[in-house]
């Protein structure tokens, strides 16, 4: 089993708001992140796949397939977007880094044919990242 990681960057805006809570509770819980006009981050995405090395190609996965899948499923949908308003998953889920990692996993996992998705890591900043391994 070999693990391969491909990195990508995208920029997006978001804000945190739970409609089940009062305006005051939202402000207390989410602080500055509750500003409804949103704020932005340069996200770094690391996608790790795992698999046996194909004896003919020497690949775990054709990097072009991985890159194209990441571009199509994630970057085209999220890069330079307001996550709350333009990405359907976040109509009902708060676009925290946790939920972003889960949404990206759910977009990629069914589309990867040659190798198995192992981990999605999303950096919101250099000092904060979330790993999702597809665990229930």
């Amino acid at each position: 089993m070999v693990y391969l990681t491909r990195k990508a960057e995208f920029a997006a805006s978001h804000y945190y708001h739970n409609p089940a809570l009062s305006a005051e509770e939202n402000r207390r819980l989410f602080g500055k992140c509750n500003n409804p006009n949103g704020h932005g981050h340069n996200y770094t995405l690391e996608v790790t796949v795992k698999g046996a090395v194909d004896p003919r190609s020497g690949f775990v996965i054709d990097l072009k397939e991985l890159k194209d899948t990441m571009n199509r499923e994630v970057l085209d949908a999220m890069d330079h977007r307001f996550l709350n308003k333009e990405v359907p998953e976040f109509a009902t889920r708060i676009p925290t880094t946790e939920n972003l990692a889960i949404a990206i996993w759910q977009r990629l996992a069914p589309k990867l044919k040659q190798a198995q998705l192992h981990r999605v890591r999303v950096y919101e900043t250099a000092d904060l990242f979330v790993d999702f391994y597809g665990e229930a």
Binding site: E98, I102, D127, F132
Partner: protein, 137 residues
């Protein structure tokens, strides 16, 4: 669903690597320049990884709580200190291995709002250390 959240912190501290269980010659041979009696310092980067179910607010735990705990219990204790003078290192040499264990133990004992997965220290850009508790080894 269960996710892992990692937060990175920075602090600076000095230390001297010296073991009372060794002779002067052994200390010098083992620790080299790090045995300098006057000590030396590092800018440490600390990564704390916690895990748990992502709640209805989209969080493993509220970062304000994790940051507050680390600030109060770790950064205030270690930042800009001489590690050799602290009670945590009264009996152990303040290597980054032992620093990792000391910080893990503080988090494990006191931070109850998510499951502690591991701590990771970068002593320099070339050296890093991870500790995830004994049961994970």
């Amino acid at each position: 669903m269960k996710a892992h959240l990692t937060r990175r912190y920075k602090f600076s501290a000095s230390h001297r690597l010296h073991s009372d269980a060794m002779s002067e010659a052994e200390n010098a041979a083992t620790y080299g320049k790090c045995n300098n009696p006057h000590g030396h310092g590092h800018n440490y980067a600390l990564e704390v990884t916690v895990s748990g179910q992502v709640d209805e607010n989209g969080m493993v735990c509220n970062l304000v709580d994790l940051d507050g705990f680390v600030e109060r219990e770790i950064l205030e204790r270690f930042d800009l200190q001489n590690l050799n003078t602290l009670p945590e290192f009264a009996e152990t040499v303040p290597t980054t291995e032992n620093l990792s264990i000391a910080v893990y133990d503080i988090l494990q004992r006191g931070f109850r709002l998510a499951h502690l997965e591991r701590v990771r220290f970068e002593e320099t850009l070339m050296n890093s250390f991870e500790y995830a508790g004994e049961e994970n080894h």
